[in-house]
Symmetry: C2
Subunit: 352 residues, 2 copies
């Protein structure tokens, strides 16, 4: 990715779609999951939670991938900017306000009624950023279902990943079918009209990431999509907006190796170059790393992009894993700003 | 100030008091001045404006002191966090939302009706920040008048600085007298009640800075007030809230040497240690530095604190002045993100 200055822009938001039973992190309490993007923004920014009630951890014990991105940031020092892409809970992290609201359940008509305005606002902001290279990332529980919704509405390959070891793909397809029905759309009907696809079956994070990418490309910056299938859905939106500039996806090996996700196939469809980084967690008995090897979380909060930056900076795997363990211990070792509130086992972190 | 990790927290807000004729940057168009804090946040964060229409520059050609703070940040690399302390215009900088609204004209009753809630929210956030040392800074046009209001309501020394070479002190006193009248207060009536002083005669930035300081002190962090007489008004609020922890003021020599400001006397009243840094602009013919020597701007956006960090890091005066010139040229040389909108000579930058 070259050695030029880089900024990771995190679009953090919510969709009520995440509250559908079985869609996101089965077993997690949706009343806590809705805090996950707000907490992820704090962890990326400060290396700990600030105003959020819990550190996002899956029922299986997998901490949010924000831990990985933060660890790399502490080693490499890249800049970060969080965009409020429809947060539903307060965050102590500074966020850019582009007017996004939380997304509604995609089974209703027009879950993102202001998709077009949000795309335009994010595009304007993406163009205004000063950087040569932007890494775009996401945190939104339920986001792979809305990604599937957008891919389907655009007529692209209908494959997405999951933060769960077992991907509830049949349920996601059913939800997406209801979403399209509610807007009188058939698969492919929104081809060439990204705002229509988001409006009917997407979420505010997809609108924000796609708009940021379009604006950054307008301004001549290099765009790296740091994530998995949600970022590929954003790439599809960029392509359907008519932009044919080079795009690359920087993801984790966990996501790239997931046969359900079909990352390389979808990326090839969309002319997106794929780079997958393996953080070398195999054989680790650390609870913050072993869960990834078991297939949990996989990606999110720009983890794959951050890992690529670590590799580019020559940070060795051992140093990286040490720092991940240290961020994990800081977050989950009870040394939070409000010790009593740094509960574990709360909301789920991986949002892919 | 020691060599430990530090974060500069900028409270950026507005008060309608700035629209009173002659109060802030005589001659500047108040329709542009209201953008100044939003633009300052962008300059500190990105080194250029993003969504703001103009770079804040005084009628006398003095650029916002955000240029100084940003230049030091580019050399030294400290973290920054912007808190929305009542912005009235959009900003492309990420901001922490503590629920602040723009302040009303202090001549009305209760210009900051939610002073108590804002103090509490800022205190909670200040305590949640992870840093060992916080530099607290401000940007709010008209802020020295509201600082005078708070000092008067608390019964402290009634002296403040000005961003103008000629301080309109008589006008400020008149405005403050009207402010206290409107709330049926006499000077000193709010002693021991910081929320009452802010509510009747202050602004949302003072509430935010005082709350942040109290929270940081609660959490055991070192607090450096990075600014001039507005930061001393915040110190007075902290003292009247009952906190007797050590506090220091890091300011510019321009501000410390201003006899009208009585910085050392007020600081002594409040048991605040003063460190003033001289950036060595004397003899410079650069338009971004010569104006300071003529007595414009003086301080703001944490410039004095940033200069202290530069000194602490061993950055030489020549390197500093080169970088200030380079940030200035980047901002005002027409190379903004939207070339046509990077107008010069717009709103005024110095807010002290």
């Amino acid at each position: 990715m070259g050695g030029r200055p880089v900024r990771l822009v995190l679009a953090a938001g919510t969709t009520r779609t995440a509250r559908i039973d079985g869609i996101s992190a089965a077993g997690a309490d949706p009343d806590l999951t809705v805090h996950t993007p707000s907490a992820d923004a704090e962890i990326l920014t400060y290396g700990r939670i600030a105003l959020s009630p819990v550190v996002p951890v899956s029922p299986g014990g997998c901490p949010t991938p924000a831990v990985i991105s933060r660890a790399v940031r502490e080693l490499v020092g890249f800049e970060t900017t969080v965009v409020d892409a429809g947060l539903a809970k307060p965050t102590g992290a500074p966020t850019v306000d582009l007017g996004a609201d939380p997304g509604a359940d995609v089974r209703r008509e027009a879950p993102v009624p202001a998709a077009e305005d949000l795309l335009a606002a994010a595009r304007r902001f993406g163009r205004a950023l000063p950087d040569d290279r932007l890494l775009l990332a996401e945190t939104i529980p339920g986001g792979t279902t809305t990604a599937l919704g957008v891919l389907t509405a655009l007529g692209e390959r209908e494959r997405v990943s999951s933060s769960l070891p077992e991907n509830p793909m049949a349920l996601k397809r059913e939800v997406v079918a209801e979403a399209l029905d509610a807007s009188d759309l058939r698969p492919g009907d929104a081809a060439g009209d990204p705002a229509a696809a988001i409006r009917a079956a997407g979420d505010p994070v997809l609108a924000t990431v796609a708009g940021l990418a379009l604006g950054a490309l307008d301004g001549g910056a290099e765009v790296v999509l740091a994530g998995g299938t949600q970022l590929l859905a954003a790439a599809a939106l960029v392509r359907h907006a008519g932009a044919d500039d080079p795009l690359s996806l920087a993801t984790t090996s966990f996501l790239a190796d997931d046969p359900n996700a079909a990352v390389r196939e979808t990326a090839a469809d969309l002319d997106v170059a794929v780079a997958a980084t393996d953080p070398g967690f195999d054989g680790s008995d650390h609870p913050g790393m072993a869960a990834y090897v078991r297939g949990e979380a996989k990606e999110g909060v720009g983890a794959g992009g951050a890992l690529a930056l670590a590799e580019e900076a020559g940070v060795g795997g051992a140093a990286l894993r040490d720092r991940i363990a240290s961020v994990y211990d800081r977050l989950l070792g009870g040394s939070g700003p409000e010790a009593g509130s740094t509960a574990t086992g709360g909301a789920f972190g991986g949002t892919e």
